[in-house]
Every structure is written in structure tokens, then in C-alpha cells.
């Protein structure tokens, strides 16, 4: 887990499809990164070969606007309708945010639950 990259979801871990959420990302790197990328990813787990995909992705590029070695951004996004988080006997589906940056020692990961059951904020 990266100490240099942080994802803040305001304490929430459960979301409903269609929820509007603010995701805060922060970084503190030895040098100014060329890019920082935030993804919202689902992946299957269980007996089958893993399938995964990014439902959302945003990339901040230094070519558009210079990036400082340390900084923070907040981005708004709407949670997708599915696939919902699921835990079965053979098939499971998990969701999570992933933050990566040029020059970071590791990526930051923040697992979440996408469910119709409501929020836990």
C-alpha cells in the first residue's frame, strides 16, 4: 500500500448505483509526477478466470497543467448501475478505487461495495 498516494471517500465504503460522490485524491512524491490516474474498477473473484474492467477513469496530465510533487484534487462522479458487489460460491464481484501516479512507489487501493442496500455514511 502506498504511503505517497491517498484516496479519501469521506468515510464511505458502501454506495448505491446512481450515487453522486466526491473522491479526494492526494499525493506526496519526491518529484513532480507527469501523470496521476484514478480508476474505479470491478473484478471477479472465485473459481473462474478473473475478469476485470474500469468503469471510470480520470487522468491528470502534466502536459495540460503542471503537477506539483505534492497536491490534492477532488473529482465528482456518479456510481454506475452495475455489476453490483456479489459474493457467491463460485463467482464473486468486487469493486474498488485505484490511484496510480508516475514515480510513486506503489498504487493506492480503496475497496468499496456497490449495493442497492444503501450507504453507510
Amino acid at each position: 500500500m502506498s504511503e505517497q498516494l491517498q484516496i479519501d471517500l469521506n468515510g464511505q465504503t458502501q454506495f448505491k448505483p446512481g450515487d453522486s460522490i466526491n473522491v479526494a485524491v492526494a499525493w506526496e512524491l519526491p518529484d513532480a509526477p507527469r501523470w496521476i490516474e484514478l480508476s474505479l474498477i470491478w473484478r471477479t473473484q472465485g473459481r473462474g478466470t478473473t475478469d476485470r474492467a474500469a468503469a471510470f477513469r480520470h487522468r491528470w496530465e502534466a502536459t495540460e497543467r503542471p503537477l506539483d510533487p505534492a497536491g490534492a484534487y477532488v473529482i465528482d462522479l456518479v456510481m454506475p448501475p452495475g455489476p453490483l458487489t456479489y459474493g457467491g460460491q463460485l463467482v464473486g464481484i468486487g469493486w474498488g478505487f485505484r490511484l496510480d501516479a508516475d514515480g510513486a512507489d506503489d498504487v493506492a487501493k480503496r475497496p468499496i461495495v456497490l449495493t442497492r442496500g444503501g450507504n453507510n455514511a
Binding site: 452495475g82 453490483l84 463460485l90 485505484r98
Partner: protein
């Protein structure tokens, strides 16, 4: 011109005295009568005496070609085995004892003939008023036989939820399945009803159920398993895959797969 007159003359001969013929403009009174008949028909159907007009989407049912194919798969080997056993061509290079070859050919041939007999059974369709099903709602679906379901002793509809996981080991690809839900929605044997030409049944999902999902190697599949037992004929079996989700089709939001080292 002459040919046209001749056609009209022949058509006139075929007409009953009170038959105004299709080439006359339909009188207004007749239009009103027709719409009244249609209205009465719709009302009759809505009272359960026929099929409601809203059931217009046919869930994909296998055609008769699959039954013919199945019969072919059995009949062709039956002919080949029979030929190799009793035919002159096989003498000298294939030596099948007549009683073995004859038995195999007879079993395969009877199986093929039985499969072909299924073509005589009435065709069964399952109809709905929508293409996707919200798991939180109660739905009503309908069945419809192509004719009077003579000989159909029992009709049963089951709802099945299944996980399917595909994985590879070496060059072998395997798909494991697990049924996480199976419930009978309608069974004439349980209700004590006789099988009718058309009818309806309720489709109800358990609470907080997982929606349909399909990726390259993993799947959550909802299926309607429809089976009709027919006297002296092969049973009618349809496994209809349902599309189950609440609101918007989530597949367009599944995204793209270039997520190396994902969460």
C-alpha cells in the same frame, strides 16, 4: 384486361350470395362490428379465457430444427452401424458381430425416431410483456401452445439462478456451475389444474437477489425451465435465459479491460 375480368368472374363464382367480397370497400357498419368483435375478444382474453394482448414478446424458445438435428445425430450413426454390420461394403475390413451391430443400430434408430416424434407435439411458447425483469417486482408471464394441448399431462415452470465460472488448466477449459436458487413457479400437478392452451404464471424473485451478469469467464444466469410432459411423445423442454436487472442496463457501464494490477 381479359385476364382481369376472368379473375373477377371466377372470384364471383366462389363468393357466397351475402359475401361482399374483399375487393369492395369495407362499409362503415362492418368496421364498427369488427372493432366490437376485437374489443369483445380482448375482454374475453383479459378475463383469462384467452391470452392478454400485452404478452407480445416471445422469450427465445428453441425451434424445431434442434429436434431434427438431435434425431439426425442418432439416426445417421444408426444407418452407418447398420450398413457396416449388414452391408456388403464392410466385409473384410470391419467385423462387427450381427447381434452387436444390430442392437446398436436398433437402439440409435429408435432414439432418433422417438426424437422425431417430438415434432408431433404442440409447440410451446413463453410470452412476456417486457424483455428485462426487475428482480424487486412481481411479473406475470404467459404460455401458449400452438394448438389444443392434447396429450399434455403436466406443465411445470421453474426459476433457476446459476453461477457459472470458466477456468483453464493447461489446454483444458472447464465451466463449473452452481445453482444458488431453484423454485417451482407453476405446476399443474401441484395446483390440480388441467393444462390449457394458454395461461399465465407469476415470476417472483427472492429479495436482494443478484442481477444477470456475464463477463468473459464468469456469469450469473437466470433461467426459466419450462417442461411439459406429453403422453407417448418426448417431453417438451425449454430453458429460457432471462435478463434480470432493476433499472438501466448496466452492461454499457462495465467499462474496458485494461486494468493491470486492479483492486
Amino acid at each position: 384486361m381479359v385476364l382481369g375480368r376472368l379473375k373477377s368472374f371466377i372470384k364471383g363464382l366462389a363468393q357466397a350470395p351475402d359475401d361482399e367480397g374483399a375487393w369492395w370497400p369495407v362499409p362503415e357498419t362492418q368496421q364498427i362490428a369488427s372493432s366490437a368483435v376485437e374489443q369483445a375478444s380482448r375482454e374475453r382474453k383479459s378475463r383469462g379465457e384467452g391470452l392478454d394482448v400485452r404478452y407480445r414478446i416471445e422469450l427465445k424458445t428453441p425451434g424445431r430444427a434442434s429436434r431434427v438435428g438431435c434425431a439426425g445425430v442418432l439416426l445417421i450413426p444408426a444407418v452407418v452401424v447398420g450398413f457396416l454390420t449388414f452391408g456388403n461394403m464392410a466385409q473384410g475390413w470391419v467385423n462387427i458381430p450381427p447381434y452387436v451391430g444390430g442392437s446398436i443400430a436398433a437402439v440409435l434408430g429408435l432414439g432418433g425416431a422417438y426424437a422425431l416424434l417430438g415434432l408431433l407435439a404442440p409447440r410451446l411458447k413463453v410470452l412476456a410483456d417486457r424483455e428485462t425483469f426487475d428482480p424487486a417486482a412481481l411479473h406475470t408471464l404467459a404460455w401458449s401452445f400452438s394448438g389444443t394441448p392434447r396429450g399434455v399431462r403436466r406443465l411445470r415452470v421453474r426459476l433457476a439462478g446459476q453461477e457459472r465460472a470458466t477456468y483453464s488448466q493447461g489446454t483444458t477449459t472447464t465451466t463449473d456451475t452452481h445453482a444458488f436458487h431453484k423454485v417451482v413457479l407453476y405446476d399443474t400437478q401441484e395446483s390440480g389444474e388441467s393444462v390449457t392452451t394458454v395461461g399465465t404464471f407469476d415470476l417472483d424473485f427472492p429479495p436482494d437477489v443478484m442481477h444477470s451478469f456475464k463477463s468473459d469467464n464468469n456469469e450469473i444466469r437466470w433461467t426459466l425451465e419450462v417442461k411439459a410432459w406429453v403422453s407417448f411423445l418426448p417431453d417438451i423442454r425449454h430453458n429460457l435465459v432471462l435478463t434480470v436487472w432493476a433499472d438501466e442496463d448496466p452492461r454499457s457501464y462495465y467499462g474496458w479491460d485494461d486494468t493491470e494490477g486492479a483492486v
